[in-house]
Amino acid sequence: METLTVPLLTEALQAVMDPEIPVLSVVDLGMITAIEILGDQVLVKMIPTFSACPAINVIRNNIRIELEKRFLVPVQVDIDPAVQWNSNRMSEAGREKLRRFRITPPEVMEGEWREEMLSGIACPFCQSHQTENRSLFGSTLCRALYYCKACGNLFEHFKPLE
């Protein structure tokens, strides 16, 4: 049996994907707040991206199933009330995966969220910044709809969230 370590468990969690954006893992999204090894048990603490995330219990269950299957130990997954998700928690690797999935990732926020962060978003198809917001809300809570004036494509942007 493999010796359980936090890096090993973190690496295993790369296989647990967000059901709404299947190229991003829970690690890429910054949803994991703590991994604790307690004897022969594992405790994972996690947070939802948006508070009304409908997939939270599915993800929670998927984490437990994935780790139990791989390491054959009991795993408990708890929601961590002490940490609130914001879009800066998304990893650089995650941002790159999003770009390749043709969703523009959120800008890294320095300080507070500003309305200006919603304009001049790079088009994921042609990289032009000549784009306009069509709707603040999209196909899931975390996305907004944009139109690229350069290439004529509609695209989605993963919203910056404070």
Partner: protein
């Protein structure tokens, strides 16, 4: 925790959660019926956020006052046990009414959660920090459309003014004082309804000016005692009937 604080917190959280649940339910009825696709999606998404907030608040209430089952609490209570304000109970009406209600309510909601970021009650501080980012999108949405339609054409302006005249007096019901409010202020849980109401007027006024809409004269005590005391409009019982219909078919089932 001392029982008096527990009861006071439960009163505050119940009315906040009931507002979120009922307005979330009302707004969700725009799914598939929005005037344009983007607004259909916007109202559906904001309704989803509201239901999410309601769930988080009911969860807090469960931990605080030992409610056993949140579905029973959300769908199984009698009408007079709900503490939502009258504004959220009203039928959706036409899009102008729903949009104006959303603008007025979400401004108040945003200020309430902002004030709770300094609360002496840690779980409310945590929730407020969680909701703040989401509410910024709601506010931006509401402000943008109110200003845009205020300047659209004669009809859109007249409709927005009509909607404001209809919603504005009702919106004061958001700030109807609770029975244990003085205690909550004293315990620094939150600054109280009067303070929130003042901040709300300051927040909405500049947007209404930008939209060229006339803010009616404030009526500070409309129809009290009202929703916060469990006294509801004629619209509430049918709403509850409809909302809980599926739940009541089999209250013990696992979803």
């Amino acid at each position: 925790m001392e029982p008096m604080l527990r009861e006071a917190l439960a009163e505050l959280i119940t009315k906040m959660a009931d507002d979120e649940l009922i307005l979330g339910h009302r707004n969700s009825a725009w799914t598939g019926l929005g005037p344009i696709l983007e607004e259909d999606i916007a109202f559906s998404s904001m309704a989803q956020d509201k239901i999410g907030h309601a769930l988080a608040l009911y969860t807090l209430l469960r931990e605080l006052s030992g409610i056993k089952d949140m579905d029973h609490f959300a769908f199984g209570r009698q009408a007079d046990q709900f503490k939502c304000c009258h504004l959220v109970e009203y039928p959706n009406g036409e899009y102008d009414f729903s949009l104006m209600r959303h603008f007025l309510f979400d401004a108040a909601e945003t200020l309430r959660y902002e004030s709770l970021e300094d609360s002496s009650f840690e779980p409310l501080r945590q929730l407020s920090r969680k909701f703040r980012g989401e509410l910024k999108y709601h506010m931006l949405h509401g402000n943008t459309w109110v200003i845009q339609l205020g300047h659209g054409d004669e009809e859109s302006h007249a409709r927005m003014q009509g909607a404001l005249d209809a919603c504005f007096p009702l919106a004061f019901g958001i700030f109807e004082q609770g029975n244990r409010e003085a205690f909550l202020i004293d315990q620094q849980v939150y600054p109280g309804e009067r303070v929130l109401q003042e901040r709300w007027l300051e927040k909405i006024y500049p947007v209404l000016v930008k939209a060229s809409l006339n803010m009616p004269a404030p009526d500070l005590n409309p129809g009290t005692p009202g929703g916060r005391q469990g006294k509801h409009t004629v619209y509430f019982a049918p709403l509850l009937e409809e909302m809980s219909e599926v739940f009541r078919m089999d209250p013990e089932t696992a979803w």
